[in-house]
């Protein structure tokens, strides 16, 4: 009886250990698979020509596999979204955490949470119906589906994560800091901007990197508003991102073709981008953690 019980205990320990290791296995599996699938095309095309080639034309009689347009579009798009979304998000967070009357704060907070949960295709749809025609009319373009539309959609999409994470960080600032500042005669906003925000900077930074990660990895929302042509990026040009390049061509690239393999290589490049961003995030958080 006792022996059986001990055996059961041992067994369950193993089962739980296995469950724990599953996520490590998944990460390894994903990394290994992306590398295995992504390397052949890079080797065939040549790393330099692949990364810095400015022409993507896999179906031409003289195919070209340069993904610089995608890389630059992804970087510009993410940077543009951050430029618009970060100030708006952080300032909204300051409002929510410090300036807002409690009822307005809780209402806006619920709203932001709802915004965070809305599927990305819905953002794409609203962008497609509202933004794209508006941009077309406003700037007199032949088509409003361009990098600017994608940037605006991404900026709205990253807003909720920036607001909620920054808000939490701002609320966690010890009240004594703010009281001391007020007691020294600082006004309310002077306190929030010069005491609270610097004290919460690691959390705010984390929220920004989180938003950047969301922006660079998004595919479906921007495929609907960016026009999806492999141009070098320009604000009013129809463009294609790293993510949308994979999403739009995978379904018709023939199995085993160089085009399909090149799409996997794009996936690998995207993966490396995200890993770099994550490493940066960890660095930021660790630095912030050591402060207190």
């Amino acid at each position: 009886m006792r022996k059986r019980k001990a055996a059961l205990e041992q067994l369950m320990r193993m089962v739980f250990l296995l469950c724990g290791i599953v996520s490590v296995a998944f990460v390894l599996l994903i990394s290994v698979y992306l590398i295995i699938a992504g390397l052949p095309a890079i080797r065939e095309i040549g790393l330099w020509k692949f990364l810095f080639g400015t022409k993507w034309a896999p179906t031409f009689s003289e195919p070209a596999y340069g993904i610089l347009p995608f890389i630059l579009t992804s970087i510009y798009g993410t940077a543009g979204a951050a430029l618009l979304g970060v100030p708006l998000g952080v300032l909204t967070a300051v409002f929510l955490a410090k300036a807002a009357p409690p009822r307005a704060a809780s209402l806006l907070h619920t709203a932001v949470e709802l915004l965070a949960g809305i599927p990305s295709v819905v953002y794409g749809l609203v962008g497609m119906i509202l933004l794209v025609p508006a941009i077309q009319r406003l700037f007199g373009l032949s088509s409003g589906a361009c990098l600017l539309a994608a940037i605006l959609v991404l900026a709205v999409m990253i807003l909720p994560s920036i607001v909620s994470v920054s808000e939490n960080a701002l609320r966690a600032v010890p009240e004594e800091y703010e009281q001391a500042s007020l007691a020294l005669g600082a006004t309310g906003t002077e306190t929030w901007f010069r005491v609270s925000l610097p004290a919460a900077k690691s959390g705010v930074a984390a929220s920004i990197v989180l938003g950047l990660g969301r922006a660079i990895g998004e595919a479906m929302a921007i495929i609907m508003v960016s026009g999806n042509v492999a141009n070098m990026p320009g604000l009013f040009r129809s463009v294609r991102f790293l993510t949308t390049a994979v999403a739009s061509e995978m379904s018709y690239a023939a199995v085993g073709s160089l085009q399909r393999q090149a799409l996997f290589s794009i996936g690998l490049v995207l993966f490396l981008f995200i890993m770099l961003l994550n490493a940066f995030l960890n660095l930021v958080i660790k630095k912030g953690g050591g402060r207190r």
Binding site: L8, V22, V27, L29, L91, A99, G117, I118, G217, A247
Partner: protein, 291 residues
Amino acid sequence: MKDTGMAKRLARDRARRGLLYFCAGLTCCILLTMIGEILYRGLGSLTWKLVSTQSSYLRNTIGILPNILNTLYIIFVALVIALPVGVGAAVYLTEYAASKRLVRVIEFATETLTGIPSILFGLVGMLVFLQLLGLQEGILAGGLTLVVMILPTIIRTTQESLKTVPDAWREGALALGAGKWRVVRTVVLPNAMDGILTGCILAAGRIVGESAALLFTAGFGFVLNDFAGSLQSSSATLTVALYVYASERGETGVAFAIACLLLLLTLLLNLAADRAAKKFKNREAPVCRKS
């Protein structure tokens, strides 16, 4: 001199305050436009006929019942697999793990999984489940891909709620002679139920909103299937259907109707998650299951 300095500061204070109100107002406007637009354009097309039939080329009608069912099927498949594994992982991390190093490695892996874009899950899911394991495009391959995606959510929320179970309860059970597994089964898990539930709801929310990971794994099929049939045949969920209707078929009315439905689902899931989370904050007395 001093007074003008003070006046300047007060003016600046007002200006900054104005900026804060402006930003919050702008965020509010964006949100209201989104929701207003979805409801305004979607509610009109959201008819009973649309949600209760399947599309027919012969009669030239559109129905999204298959997509609604596919979404439910895929939530079920993904949760049935991810739930035991995720909860098990959380139990290992909080109850069993002896080596801090292993805990760090597992937590790092979970964080990494959270950050990977969904299109990459779709790519690897296609490579592993379709090409390597030879599954057909369908709910099974899509669900398995989503398991990897939602695992971190379930692990994290379960872990949080396991941490709130007081050590005294564990020690009490151990002192009565229970083994570790029995403590986990009868004391720890029953008291963490609400947290596990929250994790499930959050995970369901992620699945409902997911599209990029499903394009190449669950596919674009619009045919009505029963559960068993959908596992191995191409099945579009609501989000994928929205994408197809909006960008390939130009049916924006249908797309907005689906958006309406998704908005409603998101709202419901948010409310449910809030409810569950509140409940597990109010824990007072231990729930004990008889073994």
